[in-house]
């Protein structure tokens, strides 16, 4: 694909904490209209990479671009193009769902009518209308997760980055999110999501990146990963063979 088509782009991205390298020389692209799955074991560097892309962490070295804007040099433009759903849906506890969406709309500079229309649409879409006037401290985890996703979509971003988006959601909501992400990609947005559910990655994502110990060890379509995975056919087997988890699987077998 041509480089100009990439809405998320990382080049030799590094994040270090003292001597510890959390992310080590990670380079990949997510093109317009593409859903990119970001996989890796716990502590591999997924969330750190995502946080650098959305501007929550400053890279120690390398470049991250969102919507063509460098997140360090043009942070406001990059952030304006991006919607982010964190792994933990920490929301302002004393704001209602409706107030929260309007607050986010204001932050992203939407005009008043647009902001009101979008927030009502999203509340309806995510089935939050009944609880829209309740403060979010009374929401269940799933409701918070949906509110968080709605907040990321208020400004209709060209890039959507999600960290474990389906965690804690019921099957209906998880399906809704998958449909929304697909629709967004079909409309030309770039979607990047990290997940532990390999089935989601296999079925939803156009391309998949696997990160282990801070390094991107593989990236490509399922077919490209199969070639890398020495003939393994399922994403689970490929993932385990690439990240060294196959030995763990054997131990688990012994414990049965």
């Amino acid at each position: 694909m041509p480089e100009s088509n990439a809405l998320i782009e990382t080049s030799h991205l590094v994040k270090s904490y003292g001597d510890k390298l959390a992310v080590d020389d990670v380079s990949f692209q997510v093109n317009a209209g593409e859903i990119f799955g970001f996989l890796g074991p716990n502590g591999a560097g997924k969330t750190t990479t995502i946080k650098m892309i959305v501007g929550l962490l400053r890279p120690s070295a390398g470049i991250a671009k969102v919507g063509g804007y460098d997140v360090v040099l043009q942070p406001l433009q990059a952030k304006a193009a991006c919607g982010y759903v964190p792994d933990e849906p920490n929301l302002y506890a004393k704001l209602t769902g409706r107030e929260l969406l309007r607050f986010v709309g204001d932050l992203y500079g939407l005009d008043r009518d647009q902001m009101l229309r979008r927030s009502e649409e999203l509340l309806r879409l995510f089935g939050l209308m009944e609880a829209a006037d309740d403060t979010t401290d009374s929401y269940s985890h799933g409701m918070k997760q949906k509110t968080s996703l709605a907040a990321a979509l208020v400004h209709d971003p060209r890039v959507l980055v999600l960290d474990e988006p389906t965690m804690g959601l019921d099957p209906k909501s998880a399906r809704l999110i998958k449909d929304i992400l697909r629709q967004m990609a079909d409309r030309g947005a770039s979607v990047m999501l990290s997940t532990h559910i390999l089935e989601i990655a296999q079925n939803m994502c156009d391309r998949i990146g696997i990160i282990n110990k801070g390094r991107l060890i593989a990236a490509g379509t399922m077919d490209e990963l199969r070639r890398l995975g020495q003939g393994e056919s399922s994403l689970e087997d490929i993932f385990l063979s690439l990240t060294g988890g196959a030995e763990d699987a054997e131990i688990a077998e012994v414990l049965k």
């Binding site: 929550l56 406001l76 302002y92 704001l95 607050f103 204001d106 932050l107 006037d133 403060t135």
Partner: protein, 584 residues
Amino acid sequence: MTAGSMTFHEPGLWVSVWRLLRLRLVIQVNGFRRAKTGRKIGYLFAALGILFFLGFILFLSVSLLTLLRSPDLSRYIGNTTPFLEGIPTMLVSVAALGILFTSFGLLLQALYLAGDMDFLMSAPLPVRAVFISKLVQALLPNFSIMCLFALPILFGLGISGHYHFLYYPFVVMVLALISLTAAALASLMVMVAARFVPARRLAEVLGFIVGTFFFIFSQSARFVNFDVNEQQMTSMLKMTGRFNQPWSPLAWTGQGLVALGKSDWAHAAGLLTATLIATGLVFTVSLWVSERLYYTGWSNLQNNRRRPKGKPAARVGEAAREKVQNPFTRLIPPPIRAILVKDLLVYRRDLRNISRLLTPLILGVVYAVNLLRSGGQGLEGRGEAPAWFMSSVNSLMVFGDVALALFLGWMLVANLAGVSFSQEGKNYWMLKAAPVSSRQLLTAKFLVGYLPSLLLCAVYLMILQILKGATLFSAIVSLLAVGMILAGLTGIYLAFGTRGAKFDWENPSQTNRAVGCLGMLVGTLFLAICFGLFIVPPLIAGWLGLPTEAGQLVGLLLGGIASAGAVLLPLGLVEKRVALLNEA
């Protein structure tokens, strides 16, 4: 693994209690072991200090109580024996009531809001063991504080009265029993309350009520007359007798201890056995009922859908939004306006924040009453000080209302601007991921700290000025001075609060440390210097025979320059830091 190797042996109640308490002990010991050397030394000094304090109170008690027993003193103030023998009952009663009320909040935290309850309740442990261990954990801090005062006095009573040696272990045992029973009753109260009000809301309301009550209580001491005459002293001494009601198990306890001390075995055995039965009964029943009520409160906590009463919250928010979207505030860019509206809504809805704002307001009212009671007049003195000195002091007194408004504003700004960033807590990601520049963020947070403080102080100052009968010119100058100084203070506290911002707090009170000692010091220094810049020129103008108004205008100019510097310089210095906030 085979099923046989995983055979489960049901643990007994007390074995489980011991396991849970041992776990807590291990956590404490680990905390001490891993602490920095300086902190360890601090702990050791604290322990030595406590021992010294115990010894001092014991010495004082023995001396005083021996004096009260002396026949010479009895000849003057009458028979002191009823008072002395009423001390154990009084202390036990006060301890029981104190533990009952202070344990409520601790138990609410330990039983409903602590993160480990899910784990403990799903573990194969008797539920009763979990409750007992939680009771002990919640009880220990208050019990220790109570022992710090009650034990030396009770031991002092024993030493001064040459009580039997069995009195001493029984004192400790009885205090522990009474405290445990009071805590069990408190747990029952928690369960009943959590049945009707979600635990988190209950904690907020409780924090607000307790904080406000204690503050008002402490401030009311200013209006109390402490001159006590002989008659009042005698009636105070007789107060111990009021605790000695024959129907009260707490009185049986106190009387039982005294009987034991005096080797009156029959009375001691009867009264202490009655105490044991009564406390055991209350403890068991409370625990039994609590166990049955616990799950209702727990499910209430999980499903605490709550809508603010009256107008729906969204309409309240909409009203707030409309207020700040009038033509004047439309000048404020949308992101700044959004943060302003959000912060004011969040601040208003969290009772814990309101209680922090109430403190300055109560203080403001208390000091205003004091100022107005004195008529706002200058000092007369005894005629020993030079005339110029008295004239200066009296000129300063004229600015008393401005000083009070600044004092109120100082506390408000420290509470609003100092914690402005920290208050975001774990939600800060929303601001950080949004296209809002550091300057916009600082501006928004500045307005969040400044506008409410200015509004409250302006109203406060205007009321004082009207009551004082000040001229319009003086009122305007005072208002401008307060407005400018508060702006400078907001800049300083916001800058220090940004430097020390903490986002990982669980309780809003933990955000108070953000400004730090240095920040408080710099802010206070600025307040004093800037206040001086405003008031010294009018004083000099007075001495030189020039119009005071000219001096006031010069003061406004000098103070205004200093205030502008205090806004721009510190905020300019931390602007770059804002972009890096919350990056470990």
